[in-house]
């Protein structure tokens, strides 16, 4: 019995353990990212970019807040791609680590779950990894640097419409719309459908299908696409599903005039594992290393030098999210949550590496920047084909199937 009592006392002590006192002259930032689990691929990239952005500032002596240079203390936790855990960890960072601001995760579901927490405590929150519009505008504390996924789809439609105007594609065009069963996929489909509804003369959607993340076998799904004989193949997918689906697509000998997988396509991993089957796929994104801005060229070089990795859009977004937060901190001149929040709301980051070069947040707290479109070319080359003024090569349309 005595042992029992001792043990229960130990458990109690463990549970009631308080955190030690905190140092005052640092900025404590919390971040919760999916470093393992389903979203780990891009979650890890965000982690790398976030850590690099913080390290760069610390190496330069810290961030200037109210006349004092403060070092940044980053607590980065892994939610294992689990939404409930994600929200709990954000809560833990706020209540136990006492962070001054939170850097949000990647993936709509995870960010959705996280984004209810900041309101409870009045702590500024900024995410670089969720483009679903329904996340924003509910709480004044929540910001996001990822522009709406609907507009990603709209940009692709503008791009296609332009190909029609220049005579490369012939209207009317029919679209096979295949989207993943996530908020990302739903928003993408919404964007395409809204555009088609507004331009009914030129476009039709004879087949629309949703699929589960990590579907085992795409033959049945693509069989329906084949039967529909659409002109264009427009899908929205995670990297895993993009690779699996495009493999099956090639193996089934499907041949649409144009192919896109939403934000996927230019990824190095995809091009490597698909080889020639990834050629001519076009993709839209929140960023491209091909953007012809000097700050982008500098960022590419810096990132490559520090990590050995050529940055993709998620690295850039992760990095720029931290930068936006730190610039706001500096503008706020204080670690008071309300001041940081209003500095974020009024932020105008003019030397941004993101498309358009200027990062601001709309009234809902979400950024709404232009999108880029890239197209894969044979030999592992990628060209920026949209916006027109920044393009590095001519779009090829329709795909020249042999």
């Amino acid at each position: 019995m005595r042992l029992l009592r001792e043990f229960s006392r130990a458990v109690l002590a463990l549970l009631l353990l308080h955190q030690a006192a905190f140092a005052q002259d640092v900025v404590r930032l919390g971040a919760v990212l999916p470093v393992t689990g389903k979203e780990s691929k891009i979650g890890s990239a965000y982690k790398q970019a976030t850590e690099l952005a913080v390290k760069e500032v610390n190496d330069a002596g810290g961030v200037l807040v109210g006349g004092k240079k403060l070092k940044i203390e980053l607590s980065l936790l892994d939610d294992t791609s689990d939404a409930a855990k994600s929200a709990q960890l954000v809560e833990q960072l706020i209540t136990q680590t006492k962070v001054h601001a939170i850097i949000g995760g990647y993936g709509s579901q995870l960010v959705q779950a996280q984004s209810v927490v900041p309101e409870r405590y009045g702590i500024p929150y900024i995410s670089g990894g969720a483009g679903a519009t329904s996340i924003y505008g509910r709480s004044k504390w929540v910001f996001g640097t990822l522009s709406p996924v609907e507009h990603l789809a709209t940009t692709q439609m503008d791009f296609l419409q332009d190909l029609v105007s220049t005579g490369k594609l012939k209207a009317p065009l029919s679209i096979a719309l295949i989207t993943e069963q996530t908020e990302h996929g739903n928003d993408y489909a919404k964007g395409v459908k809204a555009y088609v509804a507004a331009h009914a003369a030129g476009w039709t959607i004879p087949v629309e299908q949703k699929f589960e993340l990590y579907t085992a076998d795409y033959r049945p799904l693509l069989g329906r696409v084949q039967a529909a004989k659409a002109d264009l193949f427009m899908a929205d997918a995670h990297l895993e599903d993009f690779i699996s689906m495009q493999r099956t697509y090639a193996q089934m000998g499907l041949r649409n005039q144009m192919i896109t997988y939403g934000a996927r396509g230019a990824d190095e991993k995809g091009r490597k594992t698909l080889g020639a089957a990834a050629d001519y796929i076009f993709a839209s994104g929140w960023w491209s290393d091909l953007l012809p801005y000097p700050q982008v060229k500098a960022f590419n070089a810096r990132y490559k030098a520090a990590t050995g990795v050529a940055p993709e859009w998620y690295h850039a977004l992760g990095y720029e999210t931290v930068r936006a937060l730190l610039v706001a901190l500096q503008k706020a001149g204080s670690l008071e949550p309300e001041k940081i929040r209003s500095a974020l709301a009024e932020l105008r980051l003019t030397d941004s590496i993101l498309p358009g070069g200027v990062l601001t947040f709309t009234k809902t707290g979400q950024a709404d920047l232009p999108f880029v479109v890239t197209q894969n070319k044979p030999g592992g080359k990628v060209d920026l084909v949209w916006p027109k003024e920044s393009k590095t090569g001519e779009p090829v349309a329709p795909i020249p199937w042999q």
């Binding site: 294992t80 959705q112 779950a113 709480s139 908020e183």
Partner: protein, 317 residues
């Protein structure tokens, strides 16, 4: 048993008095502990007492959570949605139980994996569940302390119900079913009806916990409440703690929620949580099928009759 009562007193005191002493962060952790206690203890009624290992319990969490959010969205007071959440979970438990309880042992377990996955896939494909985008609670209704007490009371209620059931004819019948279902039937125990009852009772508790989960997290999605990993940890907690015992699931729940909270914060251990879960499960199965409770009793016995070999693992708790 005296030991069990002492444990329960510790649990009750910790949960109920903590808000006076502890700060919000600790209370969040305790909320998790209470949630885990409900899931583990309620599962143990069917899985431990009656020996029917279900690998699909996240379905009840999900049904409870969705019921609460959908009704709250329609203007209900969230607390009033809880009985409905419990009722729908019970209904589902019967719908699933009627066919699957004809199966025995591992066949039942496999069928429950299938049911769990089917429910998740359907919830992500339906319009009214918000599909894979999930649903949010109306944001005005958040009061942490009442959520906390809600879950704490539910946890104590669950453990109390289990303690009560164990001593009743119902509990004895369940244990007869676990030991030898044919013999139990021969003795006139209507096994299917008792299994359905146990399933329903634990579903009601888990469904209510699901509703409280939604109230506390304010956002739910198939990926969070219908996830296979949730079903997995619901099974692991009572097994590691001591399946079929009263204290075991509670111990397992405390251990797991502590592990989850602390492991994730530690970068070195974070990458090995599956090693830890899987390894614990294997160790328990290989060496001590009665988990921590069994180990404890073995130690106690060793202490008592030092020098004499222990014959077989002791049961109960």
């Amino acid at each position: 048993m005296k030991g069990a009562r002492a444990w329960m007193a510790v649990l009750a005191a910790t949960l109920l008095l903590a808000p006076l002493l502890a700060e919000r962060g600790t209370l969040n952790d305790l909320w998790n502990v209470a949630f885990a206690v409900v899931l583990a203890s309620a599962w143990n009624l069917l899985g431990g007492f009656a020996g029917q290992i279900s690998l699909g319990y996240s379905a009840f969490v999900g049904i409870g959570a969705y019921t609460t959010v959908l009704l709250a969205d329609a203007g209900w007071n969230p607390w009033l949605t809880l009985p409905v959440a419990a009722a729908l979970a019970v209904l589902f438990s019967v719908v699933v139980g009627l066919p699957t309880f004809r199966l025995r042992g591992p066949y039942f377990s496999i069928a429950t994996i299938g049911v769990g996955e089917a429910v998740r896939v359907i919830a992500s494909g339906m319009e009214f569940t918000g599909g894979s985008s999930g649903l949010r609670m109306p944001s005005a209704d958040f009061h942490f302390l009442s959520n906390y007490y809600g879950m704490a009371v539910l946890a104590l209620l669950t453990v109390g119900v289990m303690a009560y059931v164990r001593g009743q004819a119902f509990g004895l019948a369940l244990s007869a079913i676990r030991q030898d279902i044919d013999a139990a039937e021969a003795l006139g125990i209507p096994s299917t009806r008792y299994k359905l009852l146990a399933h329903a009772l634990s579903a009601a508790l888990v469904g209510t916990a699901g509703g409280l989960f939604a109230m506390n997290f304010q956002y739910i999605s198939p990926g969070s409440v219908f996830d296979f990993r949730l079903s997995l940890s619901i099974v692991l907690m009572p097994i590691v703690g001591g399946i079929g015992t009263l204290v075991g699931p509670v111990l397992g729940a405390v251990l797991f929620s502590y592990l989850q909270i602390k492991l994730l914060a530690s970068p070195t251990l974070r990458d090995s949580y599956l090693f830890i879960y899987g390894g614990l499960l294997m160790l328990v199965m290989l060496f001590e099928p009665h988990g921590m409770v069994g180990l404890w009793e073995r130690l106690v016995q060793l202490g008592r009759r030092a020098g004499r070999p222990v014959a077989g693992a002791p049961r109960g708790g």
